[in-house]
């Protein structure tokens, strides 16, 4: 039990922050300060415009040095925002930083209360709670734990690849886990990138092969992270490596096995080409796949389906790499930090029935057209209709599954630019008339608006209006056999019908369908839409609420390639900074047992999810292993004799706070 008499009896300083007008605009600061002066043990109560600023912190430190106070209460923003700041300020004046308590009168009062008088009263209550509580605070030491320098990166699209290379180049070991059979992600499917029109493969594949050969990167494709435990600096993860029925170390990517397969014709839907091409049951997704190791699809392979096959693939392989007995393998790794770069999926265009995707064969999604214009795609880079002819007119429909109350409300950020890119590429390859239907043209970014201006000069048509419907109902002779776009042109104020041969639906970006499971696995949070939540939208954009877990790329929200790469670099820098710190300080909020009061009932032991409590037989009492305790306090709440306590949340501290928030106002 902390003794308030220690260090000279409690003398509490209360500091009320205006936060500019964020608090002062609602809460009567003077009245609050006068009230604070009346609270027990309060020797100093002051206000200041910005307590977190240097002069604000200096004010607290001066009062400590002058011997006026030995407990600090700051009434300002949320402790999740500035608790660390004020603890450091307190420590800076040689007072133990845990003689500090914060009252959140911004997030929990001034920003959420309509009435000024009510806000003032609520502020007083929260300050009274903090003052009551801080009297019972005790000096504590932070635990320091080492940081394992190994890093886990989940997802090997451009964000994961960039982060992995940054970290590996700094001499740290990276486990890069990708669930597809190749790394590269969405970027590997694109032909050109906007606005520079440089070839996606030319800038991505060198990075992919660097990953493959980097001595500091363990690359696991066709693998999933299935378990994570631990905390910052000290995580353990389990990775499931699915069988590809080919020994990755032996296969050299000669592809003789694919040639030899009993299926002479490729018959299986080729996912990599968005279903526009076919592959065999044994395949590689694309020629630059990394690793260049074939995969056997057990759903389609005749050996797995019937148990009867001559397996010519096995005979064709000189390296003896085929292994039909391969089973899944579980790898257990220890890492100190994690970067999630799990990316996005594209909007399912069939959800908007009136656009006819899936009904009219020549209605394509933008990702399908990316494959059509790609030289390594199913048509070798030619833009062709389903019947093999070149389109003479193409409509590009923007905002499909974006900025739409019925589907996704957000702007997917990349679609305007990639639509312009596709307009340019399709026009270049086919000479077709191109019609862009847009709501607003959003082209902020370096060189982006210039690209739009270039397209305007190229003779691409731009029609401002959301497309109402796409169908094949010809009214006029020139509409026969065509797809007819019906849209209001809001610039001329008329409804237009435009017959075209091909429609491209510019689908937006969505969180991965398993984002929720991934979020749970790594114990981070998602917004309502499913994008992973960053710790602070401006000041901690790649951190999460779970220390040691960082975000990169489109899993956090729609992003283009430059943004994803920049964020991946930022996440890598955060990780490297953490590793070079060598250790992390943990909040000293672990549980402890007062041996005098412990009856040895062992109730606490069964409740601890971390098995941190053991029984000391010779003393007949429970004992908490501080290194294992995470500080939830579940055992404390259960202890029938109040022998279990939690630092920073002792019973008397919480009782005092309850009394405080209720007593005074």
């Amino acid at each position: 039990m902390p003794a308030p008499e220690s260090n000279g009896g409690p003398k509490v300083g209360v500091y009320v922050c205006h936060c500019g007008l964020n608090i002062a605009g609602k809460v009567d600061i003077d009245q609050t300060v006068e009230f604070a002066k009346t609270l027990p043990f309060v020797t100093v109560a002051r206000e200041y415009k910005f307590m977190c600023s240097d002069p604000g912190q200096e004010m607290i430190q001066q009062d400590i040095r002058d011997g006026l106070i030995n407990r600090v209460v700051v009434a300002s923003c949320s402790p999740l925002m500035h608790e660390g700041t004020f603890r450091r300020a307190t420590a800076g004046a040689d007072l133990n930083p845990f003689y500090f308590q914060m009252a959140s009168i911004r997030e929990h009062v001034s920003w959420v209360t309509a009435d000024g008088e009510a806000a003032t009263e609520k502020s007083k209550a929260l300050i009274a709670g903090a003052v009551r509580r801080v009297v019972f605070h005790a000096p504590l030491e932070k635990k320091r734990v080492p940081v394992n320098p190994d890093v886990l990166i989940v997802g090997a699209g451009i964000a994961g690849i960039h982060a992995a290379l940054n970290i590996a180049d700094a001499g740290k070991h990276v486990y890069l886990v990708e669930r597809e059979s190749t790394i590269g992600g969405h970027m590997a499917k694109f032909d050109k990138t906007f606005p520079t029109l440089d070839c996606a493969a030319c800038i991505l594949t060198p990075k992919m092969s660097q990953v493959r050969s980097h001595p500091n990167i363990t690359m696991w494709t066709y693998s999933d992270v299935i378990g994570v435990e631990g905390f910052i600096g000290n995580f353990k993860a389990r990775v499931r490596r699915r069988p590809r029925y080919v020994d990755e170390d032996l296969c050299v990517g000669c592809l003789e096995c694919i040639e030899a397969c009993v299926y002479k014709q490729a018959k299986v839907r080729d996912e990599w080409n968005e279903g526009l091409g076919k592959r065999k049951p044994i395949y590689i997704p694309f020629p630059q796949a990394t690793p260049l190791v074939v995969v056997v699809d057990p759903e389609e392979c005749i050996w797995f389906k019937t148990g009867k096959c001559k397996k010519p693939c096995v005979d064709a392989c000189e390296r003896k790499a085929m292994d039909f007995d391969q089973t899944e393998e579980i790898k257990e790794i220890e890492i100190g930090s994690i970067i999630l770069a799990t990316g996005f999926k594209t909007f399912d265009a069939s959800r908007i029935a009136q656009y006819g995707y899936g009904k009219y064969p020549n209605v394509y999604t933008s990702l399908e057209v990316e494959r059509l214009v790609n030289a390594s795609g199913p048509t070798g880079g030619e833009v062709l209709l389903r019947d093999g002819t070149k389109p003479k007119s193409v409509a590009i429909v923007h905002c499909v599954g974006s900025r739409d109350e019925k589907t996704n409300k957000w702007c997917s950020k990349v679609c305007c630019m990639y639509s312009l890119k596709l307009a340019h590429l399709v026009k270049e390859r086919t000479g077709a008339e191109i019609y862009n239907f847009y709501i607003d043209m959003r082209t902020p970014g370096k060189g982006y608006d210039e690209f739009y201006a270039k397209l305007l000069k190229e003779g691409v048509h731009f029609i401002r209006g959301r497309v109402a419907e796409i169908n094949d109902w010809a009214i006029k002779p020139e509409e026969e056999g065509k797809l007819v776009i019906r849209a209001e042109d809001t610039l001329i104020g008329a409804v237009r019908r435009i017959p075209v041969d091909m429609v491209v639906l510019s689908v937006g970006m969505e969180p991965q369908s398993d984002a929720e499971e991934v979020r749970r696995l790594f114990n981070i949070s998602c917004g309502g839409e499913g994008w992973f939540t960053e710790r602070h939208p401006k000041l901690a954009p790649v951190s999460t609420f779970t220390d040691g877990v960082f975000l990169a790329g489109a899993c956090q929200g729609p992003k283009d390639i430059p943004d994803s790469v920049a964020q991946a670099g930022a996440a890598a820098a955060e990780v490297l900074s953490l590793i070079d710190r060598g250790g992390v300080e943990l909040e000293p909020n672990s549980a402890y047992i007062d041996e005098e009061s412990c009856s040895g009932c062992r109730t606490c032991m069964a409740l601890c999810p971390f098995s941190a409590i053991s029984f000391v037989a010779d003393k007949g009492v429970a004992s908490v292993n501080e290194a294992l305790c995470k500080g939830c306090g579940t055992c404390v709440a259960a202890c029938p004799s109040a022998a279990a306590q939690q630092h920073l949340f002792t019973d008397e501290q919480v009782f005092a706070e309850i009394q405080g928030v209720l007593d005074y106002v």
Binding site: E107, V112, G129, N523, F545, P609, L662, D663, V665
Partner: protein, 157 residues
């Protein structure tokens, strides 16, 4: 200080990782709600000692709100399940003491559900307002008899 019309006082115990952060989000998003709820931060809803709830009622709370992470989302794996079990017993015990169970509420609110914080705080305030003040005897005035400073000194000796 209290207005003439009955203004319920509600103490909320929110877990650090989900509901407290959700309440911060409500603030950042400027979602105004009833000023009657005073939030106390705990690391986990599993730290919710039933004594805290009865202490709050004893000290003059008219309602108690407990907020934790959604099932499966607990930062400490299963603290919220423990909270749920305790809450069941707590509610029964409260009823036995003559405290209407409507004065107690357990809600799962995630860090991204600022709107739910707003909604739950408003609903809870209205619910308790309808119930009227919790008339436990003695009322908090009892504590004013002993000067607060002495209470602390006694507790520490």
């Amino acid at each position: 200080m209290r207005a003439k019309a009955f203004e319920p006082r509600i103490v909320a115990f929110f877990c650090n990782w989900c509901t407290y952060t959700g309440a911060d989000l409500a603030g950042i998003s400027r979602m105004t709600y009833a000023p009657n709820v005073r939030i106390i931060r705990l690391m986990c809803s599993g730290r919710m000692d039933p004594q805290f709830v009865f202490a709050a009622f004893r000290e003059g709370a008219d309602g108690v709100l407990i907020g934790g992470c959604h099932p499966g989302d607990c930062h400490y794996q299963e603290g919220n399940y423990k909270a749920r079990r305790r809450f069941e017993l707590l509610t029964r015990m409260a009823k036995g003491l003559g405290i209407e169970e409507e004065r107690l509420r357990l809600e799962w609110i995630s860090a991204s559900e600022g709107d739910k914080v707003q909604k739950v705080c408003n609903e809870m305030t209205e619910r308790v307002r309808k119930l009227g003040p919790l008339r436990l005897a003695p009322r908090p005035e009892a504590h004013q008899e002993v000067p607060a400073a002495e209470t602390v000194a006694v507790g520490a000796s």
